[in-house]
């Protein structure tokens, strides 16, 4: 099968991979580049676990071919925090508000919410719920995720 040499700028670092055209971006990140923080929950674009930022915009990495985004910038959960172990305000708020349980959906939520708050730093309750409405969580009932989004907005405003 023909392979394509691609370069993805992942979390600020140019990474090369040689992939068949059908390689999903989710699999490329996880298995070719070893960034397993991006999770795969349905592979048909509904659950949102695999959400990453593509040139800053949240997209489903399971509904994107790696080869299609050759040359583009990708941010995954591994790239959301600062240097070392420091957490981003969104990550910090999720910890403070107990917005995760099993943690499997969490990377998708974190990417989605990071972009949401960048575009709308003080969302209303309705805007928060709408903003995360494409991500499934089976553990938390979303109560504390909604709280965490507001808390992250507060942290970012400080």
């Amino acid at each position: 099968m023909r392979r394509h040499d691609i370069t993805l700028v992942v979390n600020g670092v140019a990474r090369q991979a040689s992939v068949p055209a059908r390689r999903l971006l989710s699999d490329c990140l996880r298995h070719d580049l070893g960034l397993t923080g991006t999770h795969v929950g349905c592979e048909h674009g509904v659950c949102g676990c695999c959400t990453v930022l593509l040139d800053g915009q949240p997209v489903r990495s399971c509904l994107t071919f790696a080869v299609s985004v050759d040359g583009h910038e990708i941010t995954t959960v591994e790239g959301l925090g600062g240097d070392g172990d420091s957490l981003s305000p969104v990550q910090q708020a999720f910890a403070e508000c107990h917005a995760l349980q099993c943690g499997f959906c969490t990377p998708g939520f974190l990417c989605t919410v990071t972009a949401l708050l960048r575009d709308n730093p003080a969302p209303t309750d309705e805007e928060v719920v709408e903003g995360i409405s494409g991500n499934l969580c089976r553990c938390t009932g979303y109560q504390n995720i909604v709280k965490a989004v507001h808390r992250a907005a507060e942290l970012m405003a400080e």
């Binding site: 055209a21 915009q57 299609s68 409405s133």
Partner: protein, 271 residues
């Protein structure tokens, strides 16, 4: 749930894309946003021999005003088009899946996919818009009424690329509304109605999810008796049963939503 193998083409400009598609004809399939196509590939419900990826064609990533309406290029994503100032498109796009899907999915791709439960075909049909199809050396504009042929079936012929769609402006002073009932927020609608009412009393509606193609009904003769107008829309709908709802309930919804949509559209029309 991994896609089957395919031969991949990544044309750098429109001419190359058109040449590639023309050469591949039936064997080629266009990949734009991929938000409908890739799930089908992952489930191996389709296995095209060749995929022609148009994501590098920056010249198709356009949203331009034309005759007061919007011409939307084949690479314009839902999220961008939703911000372009067309009131009905803005309302409709809020109902298309979820924000993350709208960041990647394209408006023209949705039209070509021709899912009868999708919102954008109904908008195009209601406004009497068109889709521009190109092949090397030839371009044709297909009006909405002739574009949607059946469920997941559009007028795009093998070897053709849908390069843009034209959404006419609302008539002066017209009001519009797009209402639907979905099981969950962002799901395909059980039934949906978009309505357009002009200050002069022209009124029409297009239905979603209750027929093989978007059903457009002109109810100008009944306006402003919106209950009667809604009955006319309901009579035109051809709903089916599925696992989420019965045909009877869907028909009922069309009536309810049509009346609400007409009232809302009429209220927002400028006298």
């Amino acid at each position: 749930m991994k896609p089957p193998p395919f031969e991949y083409h990544a044309p750098r400009d429109l001419d190359e894309a058109l040449d590639t598609l023309a050469r591949l004809a039936e064997r080629g399939k266009v990949l734009a946003g991929g938000q409908s196509l890739i799930p089908m590939l992952n489930m191996r419900l389709t296995a095209p021999e060749h995929l022609v990826d148009v994501n590098r064609l920056a010249e198709l990533d356009t949203v331009e005003t034309e005759d007061g309406g919007l011409r939307v290029g084949a690479l314009a994503r839902h999220s961008r088009v939703g911000r372009a100032g067309h009131p009905l498109l803005r309302q409709a796009l809020k109902l298309v899946a979820h924000p993350v899907i709208r960041n990647r999915g394209t408006v023209v791709g949705s039209l070509v996919h021709a899912d009868p439960a999708a919102e954008l075909p109904a908008v195009l049909a209601l406004l009497g818009g068109s889709v521009r199809l190109a092949r090397p050396g030839r371009t044709r504009d297909v009006p909405a009424a002739e574009f949607f042929l059946g469920p997941l079936e559009s007028a795009v012929e093998p070897g053709e690329l849908a390069v843009s769609a034209f959404f006419p402006a609302l008539p002066p002073g017209a009001g519009c509304a797009f209402l639907e009932v979905a099981r969950r927020h962002g799901d395909f609608a059980l039934a949906g109605v978009c309505a357009l009412v002009t200050p002069e009393g022209h009124a029409r509606a297009a239905c979603v999810g209750v027929g093989p193609v978007p059903i457009v009904v002109d109810v100008s003769e009944r306006a402003p008796d919106w209950a009667a107008a809604a009955r006319a829309v309901r009579e035109a709908a051809e709903p089916d049963d599925d696992i989420h709802a019965t045909a009877e309930y869907r028909g009922h919804l069309v009536g309810v939503l049509a009346e609400r949509a007409f009232r809302e559209a009429a209220a927002s029309a400028k006298a």
